[in-house]
């Protein structure tokens, strides 16, 4: 079946919606006339853009076709599958990124706590330091305890997963958020 010539013209311009079927028809055994037209349409474009017709005059297309005729047909190498190690690292990277965010959050909280501490008397041994700071910052001790519990449980989870992924270079952020009166109100 011959390709609709207007479709061929649109194909030359990459303006055809259904490219696959058109190319199939172009490459069909009885599509020689269409292939020649394809070549002439491209040549017209080149001539209008001040290109030359030297390749056409020299029969370059036929020469190249003849030159590769002896080559075996190409079979493209399959796209390399993602290496298992890289696939394995992906959740670890996500975990590290989220932990970094937690670390930043934790640091900012500690910094703000320390700033607050400089403006107020230092906690004395045995005093409920956190409870006092909680009041100063407008956060109740129970809210702070809940935040710390969630944070610590996150860190515990991370450490467990880190061990299972054997990532020895990643350090937990326990020191940043660790307080000494765990369990006290």
């Amino acid at each position: 079946m011959e390709l609709n010539q207007e479709q061929l013209s649109a194909l030359v311009d990459d303006e055809l919606e259904q490219v696959g079927p058109a190319i199939s028809r172009l490459l069909a055994a009885d599509g020689a006339a269409d292939r020649q037209r394809w070549a002439r349409y491209h040549l017209i474009g080149e001539l209008l853009r001040d290109g030359g017709a030297e390749a056409e005059a020299a029969g370059l297309g036929a020469r190249i076709s003849q030159a590769i005729a002896a080559d075996p047909p190409l079979i493209a190498a399959p796209k390399p599958a993602e290496a298992p190690a890289r696939r394995w690292l992906r959740p670890a990277h996500a975990l590290a990124a989220s932990l970094a965010a937690v670390g930043v959050f934790g640091v900012s909280q500690v910094v703000s706590l320390h700033r607050g501490a400089s403006e107020f008397p230092l906690a004395q041994p045995g005093s409920n330091y956190e409870g006092e700071q909680g009041d100063t910052l407008g956060v109740s001790a129970s809210e702070r305890a809940e935040q710390r519990r969630r944070l610590n449980s996150y860190i515990v989870n991370f450490n467990e997963q880190r061990d299972s992924l054997t990532l020895p270079k990643l350090h937990p952020y326990v020191r940043i958020v660790g307080f000494h009166n765990e369990g006290k109100p």
Binding site: Q5, E6, S9, A10, L11, V12, D13, D14, E15, L16, E17, V19, G20, I23, L26, L27, R35, R37, W38, A39, R40, Y41, H42, L43, I44, G45, E46, L47, L48, R49, G51, G52, A53, E54, A55, E56, A57, A58, L60, G61, R63, I64, S65, A67, I68, A69, D71, P73, L74, I75, A76, A77, K79
Partner: protein, 192 residues
């Protein structure tokens, strides 16, 4: 419409073993590659040989082409490298304005004009160019504008439709009719 869709389809077919699809890519890009290579290799016959070599290299490397760049960009790089290698093999570096003989030495204009193409081929090329120019001049205004905006200005059908204030289908039809008029004059020259 997606740019280079036809190229992607053709490349995929070559990679599945269809050599004929590569012929279509050659027919599409041979003129541009000859023009490109001619900037490095001034001798017309050598430029054609280097172009042929570049296409053969491209075909043999196409199995590893992943489509990270457009096919033409990839082919362009191969052609430039092939041209530079050709000049290196001649022991020369490409310089702006250099005109080379096959031995790598600068050649005179007389030599250049007589080298490579036969007079018949040169005449044919000139005749083809003149025919296209004459036919373009004789085209109805709307057809000439449509094909000019497409081929010379590189506008998409949608942009041409905006510029000419007509539907895209009309643009498509006008470009096709312009090509048909040009092809009717070109075909006998090519086939002679």
């Amino acid at each position: 419409m997606g740019e280079h869709l036809a190229d992607e389809e053709l490349v995929a077919r070559v990679q599945r073993g269809d050599k004929c699809a590569f012929d279509l890519l050659v027919l599409k890009y041979q003129h541009r590659i000859v023009k490109l290579v001619s900037r490095y290799v001034r001798n017309p016959a050598d430029a054609l040989d280097v172009t042929q070599e570049a296409f053969i290299k491209a075909y043999r490397a196409l199995g590893n082409f992943r489509g990270e760049s457009a096919f033409y960009t990839w082919l362009y790089r191969i052609a430039i490298n092939t041209a530079k290698n050709h000049l290196s093999a001649l022991g020369r570096r490409p310089r702006e304005g250099d005109v080379y003989g096959a031995d790598g030495e600068p050649i005179s204009l007389d030599e250049l004009q007589s080298d490579g193409d036969t007079p018949e081929k040169s005449l044919l090329v000139d005749e083809i160019k003149q025919t296209i120019l004459k036919t373009m001049a004789a085209l109805p205004e709307d057809l000439r504008t449509a094909i000019t905006l497409r081929e010379i200005e590189g506008l998409s059908y949608e942009e041409i439709a905006d510029a000419m204030d007509c539907p895209i289908g009309t643009v498509r039809s006008r470009i096709f009719r312009a090509r048909e008029a040009l092809d009717a004059q070109l075909k006998p020259l090519i086939e002679q």
